[in-house]
């Protein structure tokens, strides 16, 4: 029996709201699973969707994007851009066969420490249920046989393959 | 009795969670009640209810399941939606009243309520819908009233006769063409409805 799967989730946080919400969850001693690792950005608007792909291709099983509630952005309106990027990203990722549960957007104000913890817990559960993403496995040979299949007997092919 | 249950029975929030899970649609917000009484003040049948809706919510919160399901309150709800549009916490009060009716029937407690006949009215009604796909006022009125109000049924019958005379009541029920299709749909729905959380987006906020 293998050990139960423990997903790794990367969480992108906004310095002004969700990172503070995470701080608040801490000071209030709210518990959530240790599977999430946070990166602090100045604003969810800083979130380049490339970061999400990097995380997924790099071994993460899920990515949680968090920011201020719409209308409450500390930089006034940048989180609307986050929402738009996320919406397009989610549609694109769906085409790449990545389940919507793996990349989520959660608004969390600085006061919503407990809620953020609940959302993290929910997401960890959902991703755990989905199983590992293992993107390196996806882009590995995935069933393509070695090239030797063509002229296995010819000496030059063996030379190339070596 | 309440004290007994809270000592040994389920957690005090359990009944509320049960009500929330059994209420269809999005968040019902029941857990957000601040006991302001807007519902109780607005209710057209409020003066005749054993408990105002607000009071009932407090009882739900306290886990007083039996008392709640025995109350006439849900049965006296006229579905006017005043409480729902006025509620400052956006609680889906009317929907919760329907939920409580269903629970009362399931637990068999409505028979102890002062509105003991109400469920039979509903059941008679849906019987016709299940069999014909349409409601049938004459059948409903005669079957329900003869069973429950034999004394006033005569007076009602007068009105029914008036309806017939005015051409406002059919003497035979109409059946839709696709009754078998409808029955298949309803049967499937009944089967699915038995699952937990089949209908709501569930849970507290």
């Amino acid at each position: 029996m293998s050990e139960p799967f423990e997903p790794v989730i990367i969480g992108f946080t906004c310095n002004w709201c969700s990172y503070r919400a995470a701080d608040l969850a801490g000071t209030s001693r709210v518990k959530y699973p240790p599977n999430i690792r946070l990166i602090r950005l100045m604003c969810s608007g800083r979130l380049d969707p490339t970061f999400v792909l990097k995380a997924l291709a790099g071994g993460a099983d899920g990515v949680l994007i968090t920011g201020c509630h719409p209308g409450e952005c500390h930089y006034l309106e940048q989180n609307y851009k986050t929402l738009r990027r996320f919406t397009l990203l989610r549609r694109t990722l769906a085409q790449f066969g990545i389940e919507p549960e793996r990349v989520r957007l959660v608004w969390a104000s600085a006061a919503e420490g407990a809620r953020l913890a609940v959302e993290i817990g929910k997401m960890v559960e959902e991703v755990r249920a989905l199983g590992p993403l293992n993107w390196q496995g996806v882009i590995a040979d995935d069933g393509d046989p070695p090239i030797a299949i063509y002229h296995p007997q010819s000496e030059w092919v063996q030379g190339v393959a070596a | 009795m309440v004290a007994q249950r809270s000592a040994a029975g389920p957690a005090p929030g359990a009944f509320m969670d049960e009500v929330i899970a059994a209420t269809p649609g999005g968040a019902s917000h029941l857990e957000l009640c601040v006991q302001c009484g807007t519902c109780g003040g607005s209710c057209p049948s409020g003066p005749d209810m054993e408990h105002t809706p607000r009071h009932l919510f407090a009882m739900i919160r306290a886990g007083m399941k039996e008392e709640v399901l025995r109350s006439n309150t849900p049965w006296y709800c006229v579905s006017c939606y005043y409480c729902m549009v006025r509620c400052p916490q956006e609680i889906h009060i009317t929907d919760i009243m329907y939920t409580l009716k269903r629970m009362a029937i399931k637990e068999g407690l409505y028979r102890e309520s002062s509105a003991a006949d109400a469920p039979d009215f509903s059941e008679t009604f849906i019987d016709f819908v299940n069999n014909y796909g349409r409601s049938f006022e004459l059948g409903l009125a005669t079957r329900y009233h003869l069973r429950h109000h034999p004394l006033t049924a005569v007076r009602k019958a007068g009105m029914g006769l008036g309806m017939v005379r005015k051409g406002r009541m059919d003497l035979t029920p109409k059946r839709i063409n696709g009754i078998e299709q409808l029955q298949a749909i309803l049967a499937k729905a009944r089967e699915l409805g038995a699952e937990d959380g089949a209908i709501s987006q569930g849970g507290r906020q």
């Binding site: - | 269809p24 649609g25 999005g26 057209p44 049948s45 005749d48 006296y76 006229v78 579905s79 006017c80 939606y81 005043y82 729902m84 549009v85 329907y98 939920t99 269903r102 029937i105 509105a115 006949d117 109400a118 469920p119 009215f121 509903s122 009604f125 849906i126 819908v129 796909g133 349409r134 409601s135 006022e137 329900y144 008036g162 309806m163 005015k166 051409g167 406002r168 009541m169 059919d170 109409k174 839709i176 696709g178 299709q181 409808l182 298949a184 749909i185 309803l186 049967a187 499937k188 729905a189 009944r190 699915l192 409805g193 699952e195 959380g197 089949a198 209908i199 709501s200 987006q201 569930g202």
Partner: protein, 330 residues
């Protein structure tokens, strides 16, 4: 080209509210609208089905929505269904809304529908009440242009009841507390409209069957206010409201020792009269409280405008009503 709408009459309009159906069908061509009845529709469950079993209640309604979304109508308004009965209107729009809000519910309802070879995508049918279509799609000006015989001198208490303005599952077309569209419509027909304070109160609904005592009191309150405002008739837009106020008026009089005689008419009936349609095509005569006396009051001249009582010179100014409001004479 006339505007086409899917038409969901509901069980009441088949019989008990036949006057509503007849008059709606009669005025439609005048207003250049066409109703296409949904194929083999079924009962919406009223307020009863949901009290017994929830998922079947939703599936019951959803079958109608599925039929409506499948039925192709030419001439626009493809996804719009008119329900003249307030309870039907509420149930159809509610099921659509809750299916949108709760994907799990939508999935289960669709699984049930699939058992009958149907499916319904939440949000694909817009359910409209007949009054909404008349005042917002046709419009007051277009209606005014069709008025042949203004109903001068008739004092009308416009009565909306509950479900068409509350809670507005697909967005309310009028204020849930103090609607004005029926008031304006009746004004357009030439009637004198009273500022009916209980216009959106409850008619008692199914309480006539559950606890007649409770229902009679609610009906009495409505009649009492209409009488205080000296209304010749109460105009309604819901079969249940009509039935309760009309059919139980005698019971109220007997129970409270009162002598109310206020006919309860559908707004479409008065529209038909104003448009000059023959009364026989509008379902008159089906009401229990005879409307003949009231209708005889209709004059050919507009009544004189009542003198506005001059406020005392100490009087404080009155705040203005919100924009679009109608001022009443009383």
């Amino acid at each position: 080209m006339s505007a086409k709408y899917g038409y969901y009459p509901g069980c009441s309009l088949e019989r008990n509210a036949i006057a509503y159906h007849q008059s709606a069908v009669a005025v439609a061509p005048v207003l250049d609208i066409e109703f296409v009845e949904l194929d083999d529709w079924n009962c919406c469950g009223a307020t009863e089905y949901i009290a017994i079993d929830v998922l079947p209640a939703y599936a019951l309604v959803a079958r109608n929505l599925a039929i409506a979304s499948r039925q192709k109508l030419s001439g626009g308004n493809q996804n719009q269904v008119v329900a003249p009965c307030s309870a039907c209107f509420l149930n159809l729009s509610k099921v659509d809304k809750y299916m949108s809000d709760a994907p799990r519910l939508a999935a289960n309802v669709n699984t049930a529908l699939a058992a009958g070879g149907l499916s319904y995508k939440p949000g694909s049918v817009r359910v409209r009440h007949l009054l909404d279509i008349v005042v917002n799609d046709v419009g007051y000006d277009a209606i005014a242009a069709k008025v042949q015989k203004p109903l001068y001198g008739l004092r009308i208490a416009p009565y909306y009841g509950c479900l068409i303005v509350r809670p507005g599952f697909q967005g309310a077309f009028d204020d849930p507390e103090y609607p004005m569209s029926l008031d304006r419509l009746m004004g357009t027909l030439g009637t004198t409209v009273v500022d009916f304070p209980v216009k959106a109160h409850c008619c008692g609904g199914h309480m006539t069957q559950i606890s007649e005592q409770v229902a009679l009191e609610l009906i009495r309150q409505l009649l009492q206010n209409a009488a205080e405002y000296e209304a010749d008739a109460i105009v309604t837009l819901c079969p249940m409201c009509q039935l309760n106020l009309d059919g139980y008026q005698e019971a109220v009089n007997r129970h409270y020792g009162t002598k109310y005689h206020i006919p309860i008419l559908y707004f479409t009936q008065l529209m038909g009269l104003a448009f000059g349609l023959p009364a026989a095509t509008l379902g008159f005569g089906k009401e229990f409280v005879d409307a003949a006396a009231a209708l005889n009051k209709i004059g050919v001249q507009p009544p004189p405008k009542p003198k506005k009582e001059r406020a005392g010179k100490e009087a404080l100014p009155m705040p203005e009503m919100a924009a679009g409001g109608l001022s009443h004479e009383s």
